[in-house]
């Protein structure tokens, strides 16, 4: 029975070729736009998350609250201190706590000037921990050691960089805030600007060149022994810092962020932006749905006599409803299939163009099964919803009136 209905629906759709095509074009333009935008959006999201290099799952990040603009530690009034670092290190379950200084500065080489961030590396065990947490390895030369003084390790972006007119190599001298440093190594590429564009040096020289008081940190990272304890350790650190910094519960002037928390926050921000674009793009699918509704009303009107005949030879209201309902569903679904394929093509094309213009890797596409099947399901649902009213109208017709109907 249902097979006959589908056959009937398909027959009717192919009978009115121009109209069916136009109706489906309406749907697939919208679906193609949404699919390609979401695919690019998800690709971009992945790229952004990699860029922010949210470190391992066993690390808590502690920052003092500031005005919230710029790199960690910028615009902070009460900095994190050495005492606080020591107290965090003593919290039960914390493997090691590391304080880091992050400062903006200028780097000069071959008489050319660049601006960026310099980050400090701690001594001893903590240094090893930072290397492990960020998975830092030297691509050329070596990493920093405790006895290094005016030595720097540069991020991978500095390798083969032509910005300075001449390549920086291991052993090159660079001026950082007018002080001469020797480059001892380059980091492996990480795909994240926080590491790839980093200038790493030991704490002492960084304090010296950036004119900041000793014993103040911009960011503290604490590695835990057991990831299951993270919620409890977070609470303990918060309690310790409240006491140290003399603030009450609910009035903290610092944040302790878990890896999941950091990821969640980032995703939340990205989602808000994406959602706005998606909503605007989805409008076109709704417009396509209205096109289907229009087509179905026309079809019901044109086939009034047919409906009368079918009813008079025994078709139930339900059968008539199903016939038109399936027809509009098929219009939506076929439009959706074409739209998804077209959308994938457009997304790949845009990604290729984007990569050509902006360099490799940043603009990529992500086709999750959820997106593809979701788009198909959505177009089918739009089709059936749009067909609902016309199909009901058709099913409710009295056979006599329908047979009497003339155009």
């Amino acid at each position: 029975m249902i097979k006959d209905f589908i056959k009937l629906a398909w027959g009717n759709i192919s009978h009115r070729k121009i109209r069916s095509w136009l109706t489906m074009i309406g749907i697939f333009i919208g679906i193609a736009a949404v699919v390609s935008l979401i695919a690019l959006g998800q690709g971009l999201e992945k790229a952004v998350i990699t860029q922010f290099n949210i470190a391992g799952t066993d690390v808590l990040t502690i920052q003092a609250q500031g005005t919230g603009q710029g790199p960690p530690g910028a615009g902070v009034v009460n900095h994190l201190t050495q005492d606080q670092l020591d107290k965090i290190d003593d919290v039960l379950g914390v493997d090691v706590a590391i304080g880091r200084i992050i400062q903006t500065g200028k780097l000069e080489y071959n008489d050319q000037l660049g601006f960026g961030f310099a980050a400090s590396m701690p001594d001893g065990e903590a240094r090893k921990a930072v290397h492990e947490i960020l998975n830092l390895k030297a691509e050329k030369g070596r990493l920093l050691r405790d006895d290094d003084r005016y030595s720097v390790v540069l991020g991978n972006d500095f390798l083969d960089k032509t910005d300075f007119g001449k390549e920086i190599t291991v052993g090159s001298k660079v001026l950082i805030n007018d002080k001469s440093f020797t480059v001892v190594g380059f980091l492996e590429k990480k795909g994240s600007f926080t590491v790839d564009s980093a200038v790493l040096m030991n704490e002492e020289p960084l304090i010296e060149i950036s004119n900041i008081p000793e014993g103040e940190y911009d960011i503290i990272v604490a590695r835990v022994k057991n990831t299951d304890d993270i919620p409890k350790i977070k609470e303990d650190i918060e309690r310790v810092l409240r006491k140290e910094r003399n603030v009450k519960l609910g009035e903290e002037d610092f944040t302790v962020e878990t890896p999941e928390g950091a990821l969640k926050n980032l995703k939340k921000t990205l989602f808000a932006v994406q959602l706005f674009v998606y909503i605007i793009a989805s409008i076109s699918i709704v417009v396509g749905g209205i096109g289907i509704m229009n087509t179905m009303y026309t079809a019901v009107l044109e086939r009034t006599k047919e409906i009368g005949i079918m009813k008079s030879i025994g078709a139930s209201n339900r059968s008539i409803f199903t016939i038109f309902f399936i027809e509009s569903g098929v219009l939506g679904l076929v439009g959706g299939i074409i739209g998804v394929l077209l959308g994938m093509g457009i997304a790949e094309l845009l990604a290729a163009l984007g990569s050509a213009a902006l360099g490799d890797g940043f603009i990529t596409t992500q086709f999750s099964p959820l997106l593809l099947f979701g788009a198909l399901a959505f177009s089918f649902i739009i089709g059936t919803l749009a067909g609902l009213l016309p199909a009901m109208q058709a099913s409710k017709m009295s056979p006599v009136d329908a047979l009497n109907y003339t155009k």
Binding site: T67, V77, T104, I280, V287, G291, N294
Partner: protein
């Protein structure tokens, strides 16, 4: 003749109410989105324009490079001698530095703290005048800061609103604690239009150093060029002279100098690009609507094949038939646009209201006349163009065959 054709077309649309209505709906949705988006873009650019006209075109800013979005974080700041040097450059009529630092602010030492920027306002008359012109806002109540106002501050608009900076709004004469030190509020500014700037605290330049203990360093130097000089030329001269003064080579400057006009222009270019992208995305739905109009017109051509045959048989020419169907499609487009603009207006107004209540009063829609007329014309032509192919098909039908059509 044309009058008859117009009447005939309108009658047909009215006759097929449901279909016409659905087609109109499909157009108005897209137009609504476009109208609302463009009105925001327009509002923003007129905001930018009003700022630049209020500030005048004679302002120049000088900033250190490498600030990365935070004025207190630049690797280098200017000092007193730098400002004095800039003052003496030919073409410069006035120059002043602004000390900026981040501070902790509380209503009560036991209460919640907020972290905001404190800015130093010069107390010298002409320099204060320059800063006042540069601010996109005026003092709403209270008085300007003057020499000797050590523990007195003026605050941004956000403080006077409940649940914005603090739960309880601040009034004139109220006390605030800045980095734990008690100060009195003597002035409250009108809104600048974004939450961060509206949370600023203003001290006198002297108080920034003596009271807050900030370094006497400037993140920005504001310059007024002489009335007779071209500000862009002055900016160039300042850059060149200052470079030599600092003994820096060309291309290796640690600072940049830009006229305020150029600074604002680059800001509004970015906004313009973003707005265009959104408008392009919403244009997709208008394309879909155009397809719907085409479909509707094809259907009515098909339905009225016999009618076309009769009209032709009694002397209607091809162009008359063409006109009827193109006109019908155009009317659908223009009605859809009108309805769309109405709803777009409501949405933009609502959006502006929500933006203002979130502290972004700079985000307000504007509805210039050209936008309204443009949407109507666009709607008509979009409709007429979509109806062209089906109308052409109708006009080419042979009367005999059309009459025979079942």
């Amino acid at each position: 003749m044309n009058k008859d054709l117009i009447k005939y077309g309108l009658n047909n649309l009215w006759h097929r109410k449901k279909r016409s209505l659905l087609t109109v709906i499909s157009i108005f949705i897209g137009i609504m989105a476009i109208f609302a988006l463009i009105s925001f873009g327009q509002g923003l650019s007129s905001y930018v324009k009003s700022i630049s006209s209020e500030m005048g075109t004679d302002k120049i800013v000088m900033q250190p490079k490498g600030g990365f979005g935070n004025p207190t974080e630049s690797a280098f700041q200017f000092n007193e001698e730098d400002v004095e040097f800039v003052k003496k450059v030919s073409g410069v009529s006035e120059a002043t530095g602004m000390i900026v630092t981040s501070v902790q602010v509380q209503q009560d030492t036991a209460k919640k703290s907020r972290y905001v920027y404190a800015q130093g306002i010069p107390t010298e008359q002409s320099e204060q005048q320059l800063i006042n012109e540069l601010f996109a806002t005026d003092l709403g109540s209270g008085r300007e800061l003057k020499k000797g106002d050590t523990d007195k501050v003026a605050v941004g608009y956000g403080y006077s609103q409940p649940n914005t900076v603090f739960e309880k709004p601040i009034g004139l004469g109220d006390k605030l604690y800045i980095n734990g030190k008690k100060v009195e509020v003597i002035g409250i500014y009108e809104p600048i239009g974004n939450p961060i700037d509206d949370m600023n605290i203003y001290f006198t330049s002297e108080a920034m150093v003596d009271f807050l203990g900030a370094e006497k360093e400037y993140a920005t130097i504001f310059i007024r060029s002489s009335a007779s000089e071209d500000p862009r030329e002055v900016a160039k001269t300042v850059e060149e002279k200052f470079r030599k003064y600092k003994d820096q080579d060309e291309g290796k400057e640690t600072f940049f100098v830009q006229t305020f006009e150029d600074l604002i222009a680059s800001f509004s270019t970015i906004l313009g690009i973003l707005n265009t992208v959104l408008v392009l995305i919403s244009l997709i739905s208008v394309v879909v609507a155009a397809v719907n109009i085409m479909n509707t017109t094809y259907t009515s051509v098909l339905e009225r094949t016999q009618e076309i045959g009769i009209m032709k048989a009694i002397g209607a020419q091809n162009r008359h038939i063409l006109f009827v169907f193109v006109f019908e499609a155009g009317v659908l487009g223009i009605i859809g646009s009108a309805v769309g603009m109405f709803f777009g207006y409501l949405i933009a107004k609502a959006g502006g209201f929500f933006a203002a209540s979130a502290g972004y009063s700079m985000l307000q829609p504007a509805f210039p006349l050209w936008l309204v007329l443009g949407c109507l014309v666009f709607g008509f032509f979009m409709g007429a163009l979509s109806g062209l192919a089906p109308a052409y098909q109708a006009s080419k039908q042979k009367p005999v065959e059309a009459l025979r059509y079942e």
